[in-house]
C-alpha cells in the first residue's frame, strides 16, 4: 500500500488500536488521517513516508525510531503537544516535547 486516507465522515468515532498497525505497511508513502480520533499514538511509522497529515495526532511524540528523512509534508493540526523543534537527526526526527 502506498497511500492510506482515513477520513471517515463520523467525527465522534474513537478508533481503538494498539498502535502497531503500520508495521505491516513498510511501503506506505502517504498517510492522511482526518475526522477521527485514535485511542493512542502509533508505535511505528514507515520510514518511506513522504506525506504525513494527521489531525488530532493522539500522542505527544512521534515513534522514537521513525526516520523522517524522506518526509516532505508534515501536517499535525489540532494535536496535543506543547512544543516542537528539530534537533538535526532524522532519528531524532520531529522532536516533539510533551
Amino acid at each position: 500500500m502506498v497511500c492510506l486516507d482515513l477520513s471517515p465522515s463520523d467525527r465522534g468515532e474513537v478508533v481503538e488500536w494498539n498502535g502497531t498497525a503500520f508495521q505491516d505497511m513498510e511501503n506506505l508513502k502517504i498517510l492522511i488521517i482526518r475526522n477521527c480520533k485514535f485511542s493512542k499514538g502509533p508505535k511505528y511509522l514507515p520510514n518511506k513516508l513522504t506525506v504525513l497529515e494527521w489531525w488530532r495526532y493522539p500522542s505527544p511524540c512521534l515513534p522514537y525510531d521513525f526516520n523522517a528523512n524522506k518526509l516532505v509534508i508534515c501536517e499535525l493540526p489540532d494535536s496535543c503537544f506543547t512544543s516542537f523543534g528539530f534537533h538535526g537527526s532524522s532519528k531524532a526526527n520531529l522532536n516533539i516535547f510533551s
Partner: protein, 292 residues
C-alpha cells in the same frame, strides 16, 4: 540507582542526537503545519529545515514563544501565524523568498516584526486586529508591497513605510489613526515624502489633520474614500489633487464646508452628511458646476 540509570540513558540519547545533528538535515521537508495546536506553547529551533517553503501554526492559542530561526528560513514562501492570541513577540524576519505573511488577530502582538533585509516578494499584506501602534522603519524593506490593509485600533503611520510600489492603502475602523510626525518633530513626514498611493480607503475617525499632515502622501491618489470620518471641511487644497477622480465622504456627519474640489473629479458621494447645510451644498454645486 534507578535515577542514575535514567540520567545515563538520557545522556546517551542526547549525545547520539547531538552527533547526528551534524550529519543529517531534513533536506526534503517543505511543508510543516501545526495549526489549531491548543497546547502548543513554544516553537524551538527549526534551522535544520533548509528547504521549508510553508510554515503554519495558526490558531495556537497558548503559543508564547517563536524561535528566532523562523526568521531565517531562506526558502520560506508562506508563513501563517494568525490568531496566536498570547504571542507578544515575533522574531525579526529576513525571509528573502517570502510571498505571504499572516499575522492578523494575534491580539497580544504589540510590535510588527523587524524586517532585517530586503523582502521584495510580498505583494499584499493585511494586518487585522493587532494592537500595534506603528510600523517600524524597517517595514520599508517590504519593497514589493502593493496593497496594505490595516484594521487596528490605534495606528500612526509615517510616510517612510509607504514604499514606492504601494498603490492601495486601506485603513478600516481604526479608533485613532493619523500620519505620524517625523522624529525631529519639526515637520510632517508627509510633507517631504511623496508616495504612489492611488487608492486610499479610510473608514475611521479621520479628522481635518488627515489632509494637513498627509497631503503629499496622497498626491497621486485617484480614489479617495473617507467614509464615516470626522472631517469638518474639505480644504481648498483639494483642487491640487489632479489625479483624483472618485471621492466619497459619506457618513461624515461633521462635514459642513467644501472649500475645494479636485479638477478632474468624475464621481462624488456624500450620503448622510447631515451637517452639510444648504449653504455648503450650494458651494458644492458651484464647485461641481465649475468642474464640469
Amino acid at each position: 540507582m534507578l535515577i542514575d540509570k535514567c540520567i545515563q540513558i538520557y545522556s546517551l540519547i542526547h549525545i547520539s542526537f547531538s552527533l547526528l545533528f551534524f550529519l543529517q538535515k531534513f533536506e526534503n521537508l517543505t511543508v510543516l503545519k501545526f495549526d489549531y495546536g491548543k497546547h502548543l506553547t513554544r516553537i524551538h529551533d527549526i534551522s535544520d529545515l533548509p528547504n521549508l517553503e510553508k510554515l503554519s501554526f495558526k490558531w495556537c492559542e497558548s503559543l508564547v514563544s517563536v524561535h528566532n530561526s523562523v526568521g531565517f528560513l531562506t526558502k520560506l514562501k508562506i508563513l501563517i501565524a494568525e490568531r496566536c492570541e498570547k504571542l507578544r513577540r515575533f522574531p525579526p524576519l529576513n525571509l528573502t523568498s517570502l510571498e505571504r505573511l499572516e499575522l492578523s488577530y494575534c491580539s497580544s502582538l504589540e510590535n510588527f516584526p523587524e524586517i532585517l533585509g530586503k523582502m521584495g516578494n510580498i505583494r499584499k499584506l493585511s494586518l487585522l486586529k493587532l494592537p500595534i501602534k506603528e510600523l517600524p522603519d524597517s517595514f520599508q524593506n517590504l519593497t514589493g508591497l502593493q496593497e496594505l490593509d490595516l484594521n487596528c485600533d490605534f495606528v500612526h503611520l509615517s510616510g517612510n513605510v509607504l514604499t514606492p510600489d504601494l498603490t492601495r492603502l486601506y485603513v478600516l475602523t481604526c479608533k485613532e489613526w493619523k500620519w505620524l510626525k517625523s522624529k525631529e518633530g519639526e515637520e510632517d513626514v508627509g510633507s517631504t515624502v511623496s508616495s504612489n498611493v492611488q487608492s486610499f480607503w479610510g473608514s475611521c475617525n479621520l479628522d481635518d489633520e488627515f489632509f494637513s499632515a498627509g497631503f503629499t502622501q496622497l498626491a497621486q491618489v485617484r480614489q479617495l474614500w473617507l467614509v464615516n470620518g470626522n472631517v469638518t471641511f474639505l480644504p481648498e487644497r483639494m483642487k491640487e489633487f489632479h489625479h483624483l477622480n472618485a471621492l466619497d465622504v459619506s457618513y461624515c456627519e461633521n462635514l459642513h464646508e467644501i472649500r475645494g474640489l479636485p479638477p478632474n473629479l468624475k464621481s462624488f458621494r456624500a450620503i448622510k452628511c447631515t451637517s452639510l447645510t444648504s449653504l455648503g451644498s450650494s458651494m458644492l454645486l458651484n464647485q461641481v458646476l465649475s468642474c464640469f
